[in-house]
Amino acid sequence: MTVVDPAARARAAGQDAPARRPGPPAVDQQAGGSAGPRHPDASKRPRSKRPAGPEHPTARRRDRAPLWLLSPAGLVMTVVTAAPIVLLVGISFTDFDQRSLFTGAFSFVGLEQYATVFADPDFWLALARTVVFTAVMVAGSVLVGMGVAHLMTLLRPGMRYLVTVVLICAWAMPNVASSLVWNWLFQPGYGVVNWLLTQVRVFGDLTDVAWSQHPVLAATSIWALIVWQAVPFIALTLYAAQVQIPTEYYEAARLDGASEWRVYRSITLVFLRPTLGLITILSIIWDYNVFNQIWLVSQGGPDQATTTLGIFTYKTAFVGFELGAGSAISVVTTLILLVLTAVYIRSLVRSGEDL
C-alpha cells in the first residue's frame, strides 16, 4: 500500500517538525529535507500535490465534520493554552503574590509591574545574558553540527554508523539526566574534567575548581552541556540534507579545479542554506528558552551569573511568589520570542510548506 506520496511523507517526517528538538533526522534518504527543501528550487514546486483542494468532495458535503473533529483538541487548547495566555496578560496588570494565593485578594495596578520590571537592572542583565548565552550556544552548536555533518560525508559506512550511534546516545539522553551527569563531571575534587584539565598541565592544578561557583566557569559548563545536546540533531539533519546534493555539481566543480574549501562554500553551503536557516532559527528559539539545564546545574548562580530570562521569571514567580511581576516578565519574554517565531513561520512557508 504505497499510496503515500514520498515527497509529502518526507515533508511530514522532517520539515514539519517544529517541536522542541525535532527528531532524529535522518539517516536515510527520505528525510532529506529534514528542515527544508533538499533543493533550492523546491519552493517553486507545483502546488498541485495537495490532494485536499477545494474540489474535494467532503468539503462540499459535510461542512460540519471539521467542526466536531476539531472541537476536542480545540477545547483542550482553549483551556490549557489560550486561556492561560489571556490570564498571563491579565495577571501582569495585578499585584498577585503569595498572599493572594491563599486569600484570593489582589488588585489591579495597571502598568506598574511593567514599570518595575523595566526599572529593574536585574531584568536588563538577565535579558542581556539571555541574548549572549543564546548567541554563543547557537553559534557553538551550529558550527560543530555543520562540521560533524560534513565529516560524516567523508567517512565510510562503518565509521559513519559509529558516529550516528554516538550522536543518538547523546541526543536521547533526557536533559535532567545529562544535567546531573554534568554536575558529576565538573565536581570539584573528584570531577573527571578537572582531573583531565590538570593533566594537560597548561592551566596548573585545577582539581578543586568549583565550576558552578564561578560566574564564567558556570556559564562555560552549561554552554558545553547545551552544545553537547544540540549537536546531534543539527548534525544528523544537515547530513541528511547534504547527501541530497547532486554529485554532478561536485564533479563539475572539481573538474574545473576548484579547491575543497571553494567547493564547500559554493556548492554545499548554497544548497544547505534553507535547512541551515531553519535550524538556526529553531536553535535560537530553543536556546532562548533553556531552563532545566541551567536550573539543575547552577540554579542561575553564582550570584545571578547564569540567570537568564527563563530562570529570572521562574525565581520571581515560584521562589519569590511574585506572580504578577513574573507574568509581566513572561509577557515581555514572549513578545521577544514572537518576533523569532514569526521569522520561523515565514521561512517555513518560504521553504515550500503549504499552509
Binding site: 528538538r21 565529516l151 528559539i285
Partner: protein
C-alpha cells in the same frame, strides 16, 4: 607507491592518491576523537553507576570499575521511592500518549481533509503556540489549576503535557493526511462507508507512521519533563521520575553520585534503547519527534 610514478602523469597520480588516502585517515581520526568526546558523558554515567563507593570519590578517576557492582542500582530502586515514581510516570505518560493521539488525529483530519474558513489561521496558531516559552505558560496554568484543584494531580499534569504536545501531533499527522489521495476515500464512500468508517478504517491506518511519531514524541515529552512536574507536584508520593532523579541529592549525606548515576541510567536507558532501535526508521516516523527541552 613508486610504481605509480612510472605511469602517465606522475605528479597528478601521486597527488590523487595522497588525497584519497588523506581523505580517509584524517576524517577517521577526527571522527574517533569526536566520538570519544561525545560519548564520554554517557560512558561516565554508566561507569560511575557500576562503581562501588570507594572507587567513586578518588583523586585520580578510575576509568573502568575495578570491582563492578550493582549496589548503586539496588540503592536507587529500593530506598528512594523509585517504584512509586516510576508508576506515576507511567500513568502520566500513558494518559498523555493516548489523549494526544486521539485529539491530534481528529484535529489533523479536520485540518487536512477539509477546507473551511479560518483553517489557515488555526495552522499558524498551532505553529506559534509551540514556540511559547514553558516558563511563561507555567504561571497562569499554575494559578488556573490551583483554583480548579488540579495542582498535584495526574489529570492536571496530563492536561498540561497534552497541551504541550498537541500542536506537534496535529502538525505531524496532518503531514501524513495531506499525502492520502482523495480517490481512496471516494471509493470507500461509494461503497457506503460513513465518516466514522472512513476515519477509522481508511485514514487511521494510512496515518499510522504519524500516529507512531506522535506517540513517541508524547512519550518522551511526558517522560522527560521536569519543570511542570517539579512546579505542580509538591507531594513526594506524586513525583514523576525526572523530579525523583533531580531530588536524589540529600543535603544531609551529600550527593550520592553512585546512586544518582545509577538512577540516571535507569531513567535514560528506555529512551536511549528506544532511539537506537528505531534509528533506521527515524525517517518515516520520528523524524520529527525527539525532544530537546
Amino acid at each position: 607507491m613508486s610504481a605509480a610514478a612510472d605511469t602517465t602523469p606522475p605528479v597528478a597520480a601521486r597527488r590523487r592518491r595522497r588525497t584519497a588516502r588523506g581523505r580517509r585517515v584524517i576524517p577517521n581520526l577526527v571522527a574517533i576523537v569526536f566520538c570519544a568526546v561525545w560519548i564520554f558523558p554517557v560512558y561516565w554515567m554508566v561507569n560511575t553507576a557500576f562503581k562501588p563507593r570507594s572507587e567513586i570519590l578518588t583523586a585520580t578517576p578510575i576509568f573502568f570499575p575495578q570491582h563492578p557492582s550493582i549496589d548503586n542500582f539496588i540503592v536507587a530502586i529500593t530506598q528512594t521511592g523509585f517504584l512509586t515514581d516510576l508508576r506515576n510516570s507511567l500513568i502520566v505518560v500513558t494518559g498523555t500518549v493516548l489523549l494526544s493521539i486521539v485529539l491530534g488525529f481528529f484535529a489533523a483530519a479536520a485540518l487536512s481533509r477539509f477546507r473551511f474558513r479560518g483553517r489557515r489561521a488555526v495552522l499558524v496558531a498551532i505553529l506559534a503556540v509551540q514556540m511559547l516559552p514553558g516558563t511563561a505558560l507555567l504561571i497562569p496554568t499554575f494559578l488556573m489549576f490551583n483554583s480548579l484543584n488540579l495542582l498535584g494531580t495526574f489529570a492536571g499534569l496530563v492536561l498540561a503535557y497534552v497541551a504541550a504536545v498537541l500542536p506537534f501531533s496535529i502538525w505531524v499527522m496532518r503531514g501524513f493526511f495531506v499525502a492520502i489521495p482523495a480517490e481512496i476515500e471516494e471509493a470507500a464512500r461509494i461503497d457506503g462507508a460513513g465518516t466514522w468508517a472512513v476515519l477509522l478504517r481508511i485514514w487511521f491506518p494510512l496515518v499510522g507512521p504519524g500516529v507512531i511519531a506522535t506517540s513517541i514524541f508524547a512519550f518522551i515529552a511526558a517522560w522527560n519533563d521536569y519543570l511542570v512536574a517539579y512546579t505542580f507536584m509538591k507531594d513526594q508520593a506524586m513525583y514523576t521520575l525526572p523530579v525523583w532523579l533531580a531530588s536524589f541529592t540529600t543535603p544531609t549525606t551529600g550527593t550520592d553520585f553512585g546512586g544518582q548515576m545509577a538512577g540516571s541510567v535507569l531513567f535514560s536507558l528506555p529512551v536511549i534503547v528506544f532511539f537506537l532501535l528505531i534509528q533506521r526508521n527515524l525517517v518515516t516516523g520520528l523524524s520529527a519527534g525527539a525532544v530537546k527541552g
